[in-house]
Symmetry: C2
Subunit: 378 residues, 2 copies
């Protein structure tokens, strides 16, 4: 199982300051895991290329059938005029905000305090684009209409992340989205969607991706979250916006001679998993219920609105890790390899449901939770 993560991918490569190696080892030996799509190994790529004709020509610097077909497919899926494939969401989103700022002649945008651009990108937006972010809403809440109405600064663009990942994947009401969208349109503020997990929220809203996207001027989606691809992102919007984004892609060094390893795998896993989002959503609710039935354990949100949620323990990290090591060994089910310490002697971890969950026999899963509850109480 060489492909299990030794690092916490939730925080983009930053090694947890206190990785418990015994826990990681115990986790690696488990037969089943609650979260994800299985080991992050190179088989993920190999599998996608097995049935593709080797004589298929590479994309060349953004041109060619492979990249154009996928861009057209996603533009259509998202109900936007055009789309561009990017190696990363980090690149795609900075560029989207830059274009809107340039267009408006205002170097300010607004987003949530836990926005990916604010906490995971080494301040690329500020260092490369000199754009100042206005932080909207309380850290633990999603952005509401009042937050937008209450803004004093003049901004070029508002970014909404759906779901708000760092607080367990919370969502505003759909009405709120519509109100914010209408307000932005009225005020000439561009609205950008950080849809890294857009596919994952469609079952909750009971909307199509295109219906949600039409509330936004620009949309970014990712192919290695719920879709489980290797890497890559799509940015979608109107024709002029996408054309300009390609110029910025070249400037950022993202206009590679060949992006097909990411495009072919993104397309493969998109087709394979796009219709499983309803299942992941239902499973997340089922699993959250199991967690919430244990003493001193609660999920955020209490009832998930996507395939993801956070699990909070009213116990110190070390205590939880000791319980988990025993639990993994006894049941063969891995819950997490990396709980994170919170202030006040509590800890939490993130769960994102993928293909791994359906493989766990229900009886064994119930037994594991029974054991977990007993160990917490003992």
């Amino acid at each position: 199982m060489g492909g299990f993560l030794f690092v916490n991918i939730n925080e983009m490569g930053s090694l947890s300051m206190s990785t418990n190696h015994s826990l990681v080892e115990a986790f690696k030996k488990t037969k089943y895991q609650l979260a994800g799509h299985g080991p992050k190994d190179i088989q993920t790529l190999k599998a996608t290329f097995e049935d593709v004709d080797g004589q298929l020509g590479s994309d060349i610097y953004g041109k060619g059938k492979i990249i154009e077909d996928f861009q057209n497919k996603l533009a259509k899926y998202l109900g936007k005029e055009e789309a561009a494939f990017f190696p990363s969401g980090t690149m795609a989103q900075q560029i989207a905000l830059r274009i809107w700022c340039d267009q408006k002649g205002i170097k300010k945008v607004a987003y949530h305090p836990f926005c990916h651009l604010e906490i995971h990108e080494e301040d690329g937006l500020k260092e490369l684009h000199h754009i100042e972010p206005i932080l909207l809403a309380d850290k633990e809440s999603v952005i509401q209409l009042e937050d937008v109405l209450g803004m004093k600064d003049k901004i070029a663009c508002l970014l909404l992340e759906l779901p708000q990942r760092e607080i367990g994947g919370q969502l505003p009401d759909y009405d709120t989205l519509e109100s914010i969208s209408a307000y932005c349109k009225e005020k000439g503020i561009r609205l950008h969607l950080d849809g890294a997990r857009l596919f994952e929220i469609l079952p909750y809203y009971q909307k199509t991706a295109a219906e949600i996207s039409q509330l936004f001027d620009s949309v970014y989606v990712s192919f290695y979250k719920g879709i489980g691809g290797v890497a890559g992102a799509i940015l979608a919007g109107d024709k002029a916006f996408i054309e300009e984004s390609k110029v910025w892609k070249r400037r950022h060094g993202g206009d590679l001679i060949s992006l097909y390893p990411y495009i072919i795998s993104s397309d493969y896993y998109f087709d394979k998993r796009i219709n499983k989002m309803e299942q992941y959503y239902a499973e997340a609710q089922e699993l959250a219920h199991l967690f919430n039935s244990c003493k001193g354990v609660s999920t955020k949100p209490l009832v998930p609105v996507s395939n993801m949620f956070h699990v909070h323990f009213d116990l110190p990290k070390e205590k939880v890790e000791a319980i988990f090591i025993d639990l993994y060994t006894a049941t063969g089910i891995g819950f997490t390899h990396n709980p994170r310490q919170m202030s006040g002697l509590t800890c939490y971890f993130e769960v994102s449901i993928g293909d791994a969950y359906e493989k766990i026999p229900k009886e064994e899963l119930r037994n594991a939770f029974k054991m977990l509850d007993e160990r917490i109480r003992s």
Copy 2:
């Protein structure tokens, strides 16, 4: 032969304004080609993964065995303290110059008028990093010591591209390199090597990559030129420089969750072709001689100093294309699919020797050149 390029990859994806489709079609039907490693198709990637264990774990945001092993291997090969893998040279080089400018507190660098950063990157260096380039030397000549000595501006860094690709892959004398390096060291000017084709010039200089690299503070090398990989670059330098380059890689959006498709293929083709550079160099000289034996045809340089050179025809592009279409059909050997018009009714194209050349039977090659010469004279 779906993998043949319809676009001119020499100019980074910009379609030639006057692509001759009959020529492209005739070229696609040829059995042999003078330049390159064969079709640019996805088999290039598939071949590298065939013998790799699918359970091998992915690199994760710059961490993990796959990426660290390759970085260490190239750092050692280049005689530098550390190395970082980048998705592209565009990203790696802008970052290198930015770090040196920040360190010196001077937002100016110097490079050749045909530097990649000046003509192929949509002004990323200026738009993202606000660095002003000083253009050194005449367009048709490589940078000489006098050009450096004559600089009036105070610069943070000088970039040398070896070989100077856009003028046929010319090189300064090794003594010149040593003198420029010594001068920069004395003056506190950082010296950066655009070594996109560094491997390809080692046979001419009769130096190791490490010997050349030690003249420079930072070095970039590419894995899809002579090496023929899918994409990817290495930036090498001292530990502090490389650590900082990784922060900028994150900012640029190049710190992907998984870069292994490019790393594994770069490593595979590096091992496969690094010892073929002497052969490519000898073949380039042989082929240039054949061109120079034709009436009104000359190569730049006259005697190649790497695996590449330009071929200039004292004939208009349309005339050369008509000759080539007949030539390809009669001989099955493709010379180029994209000659470029020059002022004064002449045209030229680039040749970079790879694995394709050795497959051409010598007798057939000589006959093709005989026919070419006859057609030019007729």
